[in-house]
């Protein structure tokens, strides 16, 4: 599976996406994160594990606590996927111009 497909899949879950967005506010523990969500702490932990596996979140342990934060660089493959089309379309439009010149009126 290409990396961008894995990202799409990981972020397709709305709760997981909300966890991801919430981490945009800063580094948090699971219990920090849990407030504001109606799901259980183990469910949040599961989403964090999936985000970690996808390279979107990193974990730092300090004593008994684990702190989670975003890894924005984890989104790079996604930007790459959209960027392929950013190059693709102008190339195709250039080709279209040539084709139009050759077409019967």
């Amino acid at each position: 599976m290409p990396p961008e497909a894995a990202l799409f899949r990981t972020l397709a879950d709305p709760t997981r996406r909300a966890v991801f967005e919430r981490l945009g506010e800063g580094e948090m523990t699971v219990s920090d994160l849990r407030s504001g969500f109606s799901v259980s702490q183990p469910a949040i932990s599961q989403h964090l594990a999936a985000l970690k596996a996808a390279g979107l979140v990193s974990e730092r342990r300090a004593g008994r606590n684990a702190f989670y934060r975003l890894r924005p660089e984890g989104l790079a493959p996604l930007a790459g996927w959209v960027d392929r089309y950013r190059t693709f379309w102008p190339e195709r439009i250039a080709k279209l111009k040539d084709v139009l010149k050759d077409m019967e009126p």
């Binding site: 497909a5 996406r17 967005e21 790459g80 439009i93 080709k95 139009l100």
Partner: protein, 125 residues
């Protein structure tokens, strides 16, 4: 040709010398389309067509394990005083909009992680 680039949408504007009727043929006649956008055969399906003006397509990409990433491509044709056509292409409506909207809500500086070294970035801003 100009590009506008929020991450979730690709817009390409271009001015063509040919009139809208001719540009329309290039977009819709299979043998002509095949000469500049052969991928359309496998990926595109027309969802809305307003002859000479607007063509909306569903655009499907297949990922490695056969999953589909679905998006939308719209061509809009506007006649110009010169007799030519202003063609606007918009590629958006990614079904994994989920992903795109998560991205859109991140602080702007983080959306293009390749462009900056964010490794040591402090998040508690």
């Amino acid at each position: 040709m100009s590009l506008e680039s929020p991450l979730e949408t690709i817009v390409v504007d271009t001015d063509l010398d040919e009139p809208p009727e001719k540009v329309w043929r290039a977009l819709t006649e299979p043998e002509v389309l095949d000469r500049w956008l052969a991928e359309a055969k496998d990926r595109a399906e027309v969802v809305e067509s307003e002859p000479g003006k607007r063509l909306r397509l569903t655009w499907r990409d297949r990922d490695a394990d056969g999953g589909l990433v679905e998006s939308e491509v719209t061509f809009t044709l506007t006649p110009m005083i010169t007799g030519g056509t202003r063609l606007r292409l918009v590629h958006d409506g990614f079904v994994h909009t989920a992903c795109m909207s998560a991205l859109a809500r991140l602080p702007r500086a983080l959306r293009r992680p390749r462009l900056a070294n964010l490794g040591g970035l402090a998040w508690a801003a």
